[in-house]
Symmetry: C2
Subunit: 290 residues, 2 copies
DNA sequence: TCCACGACATCAGTATTGCTTATCTCGGTA
DNA sequence: TACCGAGATAAGCAATACTGATGTCGTGGA
């Protein structure tokens, strides 16, 4: 199971086309066809239905493994390369939107002042992209925020070998439009809201599948998908009544009211995540710790 | 980073010899030398010192990644092959020694009676071997036991995609030789025993590194290494005063007394672990659930 | 119903890769 | 200093994995 074959398999599955995958990867269509055939004969199973291209059960199963494997492979490469490269004069900090708040800016500014020769960059993206970036070395340090049970770590994509430490914990709140029947409450249980409409904003708010897991129940249907990473945009949607969202408190946005979740006990947390640190990246990471 | 190269790298690191690794893998020494050279030039780093062969820092880092990657790779293969293979007429159950207790035998016997055409096998080994076996398809179903905090799952090697479910929880006890000053107590805290001598029996009792993590402290020096998987043998060592061990209660062995651990709160737990199940394996798995 | 077109499969040819055998080089040791 | 063991290097050859051309199948339009 050559990683090359795995990569073209993932691409074909993603584009649902051999030709498109070939173009994307810089191969001929013929090569892609042969690679998939090789994979299938190696595993002794049909991975894709043809015309139209669709995953078989076996293919779907393989796809679940392929992503993490490829991620880890490049994490390994990045990890080794980082060790042997010359000390970088640049540090890239990746953060999820709510994690990249005022304190981040203050810390970055002070560290920048302490090390004027180093070039710092702040990149705001989704949770998974931060974790993957840290694993593959695109990012030196990551800040990820999310909602979980007090004793659990934040769920991150499996890239292995990532050190995490808790930076901030505060209350998790559900964001309601002002005037919503629940908006006046002081606290609430998640299960009461299983029938409500939620905004599916996996990169800013709590992803819906995780929400269901936290509440130990189904429901939580999504009325609106928000793939962006802008917090104000999400809150505007909430204010407009497009749906609810589980967020870090306190919420300060006109027309939006945050109500703390008390059942189950939940916290919003910001975690610092990194692999092996270059010296300037280490300074930055230390600066974040209390 | 071809998995083949990774595999020979792991073998070379393990044997600390190019020639021995070549023999073990069925290559010539020349091939191994070229493979390592290819890996090093690909990553742009020296992975091994030569004469004598030893890991560089970069090599050590790569080695940490290589194991999990190779494991996941074969887990992926096994997972796909299992889906497309014909229904097997054989089920292999792997279990750690304390997990494979009386109830296991009873369940196996009754399932065997229900499906006389199917050939069942019970294999007792270490924790990691059970998890790896289930991931790679050598085992259909695994039973793993161990000690953790009540809210945490048992720590298993990262093979991804393994479903686990809790079967039994009971108290965790420290096994003392009769006459030990602590042997008369009704309960105790782990930290009190950080200075005691422990038996390092990673496949039967709680591994020492995990013990340190549970107690949030150092210490726990090992007086004796017990790599076997026989429970009676371990208890005999405890009775002889070779050291202590953290085990599932209750302990019934002449000369050994078990005292429950109450600080931190710990439980001994047996977990069922499996990948995708063949029909007869599913029946077996269901039979274990309460 | 038939044809044309789009999309994947197959085939032949070739460049590359990755092995083996043979030989060389280096470091430790008597 | 000479030898021996162990890894590096070189040349040759077989297997692999591309490209380009052609074949086959399903679909949509006339």
């Amino acid at each position: 199971m050559d990683p090359h074959l795995l990569r073209t398999f993932v691409t074909v599955a993603g584009t649902r086309s051999f030709s498109a995958a070939a173009q994307e990867l810089g191969y001929t269509q013929s090569a892609v066809s042969q690679q998939i055939a090789a994979l299938e004969s190696d595993l002794g199973a049909t991975l894709l239905h043809r015309r139209p291209v669709a995953l078989t059960d076996a293919g779907a199963r393989l796809l679940e493994h392929a992503g993490p494997i490829l991620l880890r492979l490049s994490a390994a490469r990045a990890d080794v390369v980082r060790l042997s490269g010359e000390p970088a004069a640049t540090v890239v900090l990746g953060a999820t939107p709510f994690a990249g708040s005022t304190r981040v800016a203050a810390v970055l500014a002070s560290v920048q002042r302490a090390m004027p020769r180093v070039r710092f960059t702040l990149l705001l993206t989704g949770r998974d992209a931060v974790a993957a970036g840290v694993a593959t070395g695109t990012l030196d340090v990551g800040l990820v925020d999310g909602v979980t049970a007090p004793s659990d770590p934040l769920p991150l994509p499996d890239a292995g070998q990532l050190a995490t430490s808790v930076l901030v914990e505060n209350t998790a709140v559900v964001a309601f439009p002002a005037g919503h029947p629940f908006a006046g409450r002081r606290s609430l249980g998640l299960a009461d809201l299983a029938d409500a409409t939620w905004i599916d904003a996996p990169d800013v708010a709590t992803p819906l599948p995780q929400l269901r897991a936290l509440a130990h129940s189904g429901g939580f249907r999504d009325g609106f998908c928000y793939p962006g990473t802008d917090t104000a945009g999400l809150l505007a949607l909430v204010a407009a009544g497009a749906g609810l969202a589980l967020l870090p408190g306190p919420v300060t946005h006109p027309g939006v009211v945050g109500v703390a979740v008390t059942l189950p006990r939940l916290v919003h947390r910001v975690e610092l995540v990194h692999g092996s640190l270059t010296p300037p990246a280490r300074v930055l990471a230390e600066a974040f710790r209390p």
